[in-house]
Subunit: 252 residues, 2 copies
DNA sequence: CGCACTGTTGATGTGCATCAAACAGCGTGG
DNA sequence: CCACGCTGTTTGATGCACATCAACAGTGCG
């Protein structure tokens, strides 16, 4: 996922960075989908200052007031909730083009923590101004509605995974999902790097880190993947898909 | 939840039913929260015809095109997803004042099934028209955003439950959650009726029906509840809360 | 009244958690 | 340079919570 996620055809020159959707490399994956040129320019005005988040630091924490939503531009994040007695539940991993902070809208404060898994960069989108702008840009409003709804669908799939899949199936589903999302971004669906620890994958999938390790060993024994540390190589995409085929929702 | 959910002070005369938010008994719990009188009247125009759904029948099914969102007016529903090999995952239970169909917005078609758990009644809200109206009613748009976001927060809490709680804690959390939602609607948080089967509770909580039965027995043995069939009486609300206190998110 | 559905309880099995130990990678400092 | 500690990963041994299988009781509907 690392720096390899920045398309090489569009090298990053820090001094050229402008906080603008119109020159963003994840333009077609983010809020502006389907907006016209002039419309995107109006959206641009909301983004005061794109900024960096160092690996391991929080973009926001539970209880922080909702100022902005954040589009991941470079890098990756995990979102997590902490229980009273200190257990962490990872609720999602986010790669470039994906939005962070949607769960803060309901209560005007963030309902989870967001940590950078590597040195990353986000576009803050001032929420009050976004709502205002959306009034005059129906397709922007529609995009926001869809974004929120997509998160709900995604969460329901996770509930299905937690309720019905065994550990190997969960791991396979996790790898396939990540592979697909990377693929959309234009990167190899077969070779990628996990930016999170085994423990974080485990929390996300409702398993212990040891179980993740054993799951990896099982998939390797079946010749489906090759995983060394955090380097993933998918050898048999179809085999992986078959493993989870039965326990997933029918493909519309 | 049954018929006891209809306030006795407001008896239901079928021939007086008008499809109107302004005379709806769940007005303050639904989309119109915080809208002014004239604004609610404009929302009213979207609701063509309130209608009934018989127990056990589907309000909509996976793949149905998104025409309307539905506000539950009377009765209760379960939403569920079906896997390829036929396993059901219940993703939610919905009582009056709660909205159905939010997961359909992302793909213009419903992503789950919604079944009536008892004879029920819903207000269909034509979605395309709702989006249109929301353009000129900022507070309506804001309500919709919050509604969507609240569903995301709720789902994240469920993921935490699935990832971190044991069977008794899950059951206690389920009962407390239902109790609170009934309480908001003005009904006793201590005495209510489960409209769903043990198997459906189990699916929702990621457990088997037998485990639900045993969990009920455990809670009863501890003197926390009295459950006979589907009749629930909560004897020790604080005790129940302590049971789940440690494994939940800190209360903002 | 009878039959299908739903709920309860017991006996047994198993998948994953837990506990434990060893190893690899990596930065720090002697 | 290597020794050292720290973090993360892997693998093995054991235990337990929940699933599974099974038998039966209660409920309600045609």
């Amino acid at each position: 996922m690392a720096s390899s996620l920045v398309p090489e055809t569009r090298p990053l020159h820090i001094h050229h960075l402008k906080a603008a959707c119109s020159n963003c490399s994840v333009l077609e994956l983010c809020l502006p989908i389907g907006l016209s040129g002039p419309e995107v320019e109006r959206l641009d005005t909301l983004i005061v200052q794109r900024f960096k988040v160092k690996k391991g630091t929080a973009l926001y924490r539970t209880g922080d007031p909702l100022l902005s939503l954040y589009a991941v531009r470079i890098g990756s994040f995990k979102t997590s909730m902490l229980s009273v007695d200190g257990r962490e539940q990872v609720t999602g991993f986010h790669i470039p083009g994906e939005m962070l902070g949607l769960d803060a809208i309901s209560g005007d404060e963030h309902a989870c923590n967001a940590f950078a898994l590597e040195d990353s960069e986000v576009c803050p989108i001032h929420f009050a101004q976004l709502e205002k702008l959306a009034q005059s840009l129906p397709s922007l409003q529609h995009n926001l509605n869809r974004l929120l709804s997509r998160e709900i669908v995604r969460d329901h799939s996770m509930l299905m995974l937690m309720g019905n899949m065994n550990s190997d199936e969960r791991l396979a589903a996790f790898l396939l999902n990540l592979s697909q999302r990377l693929s959309i971004r234009g990167y190899s669906p077969r070779d990628f790097v996990l930016k999170m620890r085994r423990e974080e994958i485990g929390s996300y999938l409702g398993l212990r880190l040891e179980t993740i390790c054993r799951g990896i060993a099982h998939l390797r024994d079946q010749g489906l993947v090759e995983i060394a540390g955090r380097e993933v190589k998918i050898l048999d995409m179809e085999g992986l898909k078959q493993l989870v085929a039965g326990c997933q929702r029918p493909q519309h």
